[in-house]
């Protein structure tokens, strides 16, 4: 078979399709025939219906006629009139429907005159009755002509009906035969198509799917890396054969790559792989990989030697580090002790600062009291100054009044001097009067003595007044000095108040500062405790550090050994 896969599949499915088309065409024709037969049956039923209608109309006419004849009432003529209208139309329809059947046409020719006669008879009887002769009408009926006509009509219609029934039976049988034949045709066609389809499927599966399954299995093996499968095309020239050959070439190429990879794995990096095309991703990648590996291995060799050297240096350094860590741990231990001492000192300081703060608070309270006292002293001094001013005023008034008293004394003195003078003059006058003036002389002597007494009293008053004036002057002077002293005192009190005020401010500031110092000292203590805790942690860390340094030393030695091993390993690569 030199057919391609597409041709094979086309041929199989084409045969099946052809059979289906034939069966479909046959079915179509048969269905058309069935539709025609059904129409003819319909036609026959219609003819039968019209024949029944003719007979029924005639019966209606007869009924109406009889009713009228019996009653003479025009109302009973209604079925008669209806039947008359319908009979002609029904007869015409029957003639139209049976135009293709000469036998039925000849029977119709016989039927029509019979119907006409019967109708004419009916009309005649009605007319007679209408003329008023009921006896005449009964005579006509009694003649039996009407019945003869009706029997003839019934006979003809019956013949026609039996003719139509025969026709119906013939046509039904024919339709049945057709349908049966069609059923068989469809059944056989279906079976043939099924068998042909199954055959085509089997052949296609046999020819295409099985080789493809084989190839899939091989591809499956290649996927898991098995490249040893042999693929034979069995000499096929179709797509499957081409696919098999291509697969064969692919496995060959892959095998070549695998061989190269094995060489690389063995450490031989001298192989060079040439890509089979510009799009050979694997080949290009391999070539690049080998190139890169070669460069990297060179670098690796260099690196390993550097690493080895460095590892040796690291070993030396870590040894030093370990000893340094030990020294550092010792130092840290000493520092921790010192920090603990400092912390204790800070604690003492904090307590002292707290004491100082409390004292400063008390001092602030006392200075506040002092401030209030100074204010009170200022107010007191002010009151003293006012009183001193009042005293000074009083003293001035006293001085003025003693001055006035002095003036009064002078006046009294003057009066005494004048009365003395008057007494002397009186005495002189008395002396001039001689014996008669003796009594007057005594009076003058008395006046003189009184004036002398008043002079002496005045002198005493003056002396006292002088003393008073002296004392007053001294008092005024003392008051002035007192005023000045009070002013000075007031000023000093003010100064003292200000000083105390400032002092109170300073003390308050000092108290605040002391409080801050106490707080700071407390914070310092807390900080120192934290530092102590931290130093403890540092100490632990330092101890851990020493341990770590020792571990590091061990690790560095391991690293050194590892570097040596790496150097040996890298030296195996041939570049």
């Amino acid at each position: 078979m030199k057919w391609s896969v597409g041709t094979k599949m086309g041929a199989g499915f084409g045969a099946v399709l052809l059979i289906f088309v034939i069966v479909g065409l046959l079915s179509y024709r048969s269905t058309t025939q069935l539709i025609g037969a059904s129409e003819w049956r319909q036609h026959t039923y219609k003819v039968l219906g019209q024949l029944d209608a003719v007979l029924s109309s005639l019966q209606d006419v007869e009924t109406g006629q009889r009713g009228y004849l019996l009653t003479g009432d025009e109302k009973y003529l209604e079925p008669y009139q209806n039947g008359l209208g319908k009979i002609d139309a029904s007869l015409k329809e029957v003639r139209r429907l049976t135009v293709d059947n000469p036998r039925q046409q000849s029977r119709l020719d016989a039927l029509e005159p019979l119907v006409k006669n019967r109708l004419a008879l009916a009309k005649e009887t009605i007319d007679v009755r209408r003329a008023g002769s009921a006896e005449g009408a009964v005579q006509i009926i009694k003649s039996g002509r009407g019945k003869a006509f009706m029997d003839a009509v019934r006979k003809v219609i019956s013949e026609m009906k039996s003719e139509e029934d025969e026709l119906l039976q013939t046509r039904s049988a024919e339709t049945q035969t057709n349908a049966n034949r069609m059923q068989w045709t469809i059944l056989v066609g279906m079976l043939v198509a099924l068998m042909l389809g199954a055959l085509a499927g089997f052949v296609i599966t046999r020819n295409i799917a099985r080789p493809l399954q084989n190839l899939t299995a091989i591809a499956e093996r290649i996927t898991v890396g098995d490249l040893q499968a042999n693929i034979s095309s069995n000499g096929r020239a179709d797509e499957v054969g081409v696919l098999a050959k291509t697969f064969d070439r692919m496995t060959l190429s892959l095998r070549t790559m695998a061989g190269a990879a094995e060489e690389i794995a063995a450490g031989d990096l001298r192989t060079s792989i040439k890509p089979k095309s510009a799009n050979d991703v694997l080949g290009n990648a391999f070539a690049k990989m080998v190139q890169n590996l070669r460069e990297q291995t060179l670098q690796l060799i260099e690196g390993a030697s550097v690493l080895s050297t460095s590892a040796s240096e690291i070993v030396a350094s870590t040894t030093q580090l370990a000893s340094s860590a030990t020294e550092s741990a010792t130092a840290v231990s000493e520092t921790t002790t010192t920090v603990e001492e400092v912390r204790q000192t800070a604690e003492v300081t904090s307590q002292k600062a707290k004491g100082v703060s409390d004292s400063a608070q008390k001092a602030a309270e006392i200075s506040d009291k002092g401030r209030r006292s100074a204010d009170a002293a200022t107010i007191g001094m002010n009151r003293i100054r006012q009183q001193m001013a009042a005293i000074s005023e009083s003293m001035t008034r006293l001085s003025e009044q003693s001055q006035t008293i002095g003036q009064i004394i002078a006046t009294v003195e003057d009066l005494s001097a004048q009365s003395n003078l008057l007494a002397v003059n009186a005495a002189i006058e008395a002396a001039k009067a001689g014996e008669h003036g003796k009594g007057f002389g005594v009076v003058a002597q008395e006046v003189k003595s009184l004036s002398e007494q008043s002079r002496q009293a005045t002198n005493q008053v003056r002396t006292i007044l002088n003393d008073i004036q002296k004392a007053t002057t001294a008092a005024v002077l003392a008051t002035e000095q007192g005023s000045k002293a009070v002013e000075a005192g007031e000023k000093q009190t003010e100064d003292a108040g200000e000083s105390i005020q400032k002092l109170a401010g300073s003390v308050a500031e000092a108290a605040q500062a002391a409080t801050q110092i106490a707080a700071s000292s407390q914070q310092q203590l807390v900080g120192m405790e934290q530092v102590a805790v931290a130093m403890e942690s540092v100490k632990q860390a330092s101890t851990q550090n020493v341990a770590s340094a020792r571990q590091l030393e061990t690790a560095a030695r391991n690293l050194d050994e590892l570097g040596q091993q790496l150097k040996h390993m890298v030296e195996r690569y041939k570049v």
């Binding site: 003395n420 002397v424 005495a427 002189i428 002396a431 002389g441």
Partner: protein
Amino acid sequence: MQNPVEVLEFRLAQEKYAVESQYVREIHPLKELTPLPCTPPFVVGIVNVRGRLVPVLDLKKFLDLPEKGLTDLHFIILVRGEDFEVGVVADVIVGVRSIAVDTLQPTLGALTGARSEFLKGVTAERLVVLDLGRVLSNKRIIVHDEVES
């Protein structure tokens, strides 16, 4: 007491003097003394006594008595001559008293001299009694100086 005489005792520059009260017209406080130019030193000035102009004399200077201490010169003693009236200055007027002329002692040696003629005598209490009649009749008391202008 024999031959009693009324005298006016006064003080001048701490000395006690007395004049016979028959010559005394009245005693007056020394006020508004107006110095008078072109007069001897013993004329202190003039005063106005109730509308009369009276010259005022300083007996100490007139009698050339020694100046002893300060003088007060509070009073004038108006004395009457034969046809004129003069004022004599005094510190203090003690008063009128009677003394016996017989008890007067002659003047002490200190007051001897040209001016002793104007003294009547000195009492036991060292009261110098002046002879005012002689003083007033003395020609010196009449001032007649001419000032050449």
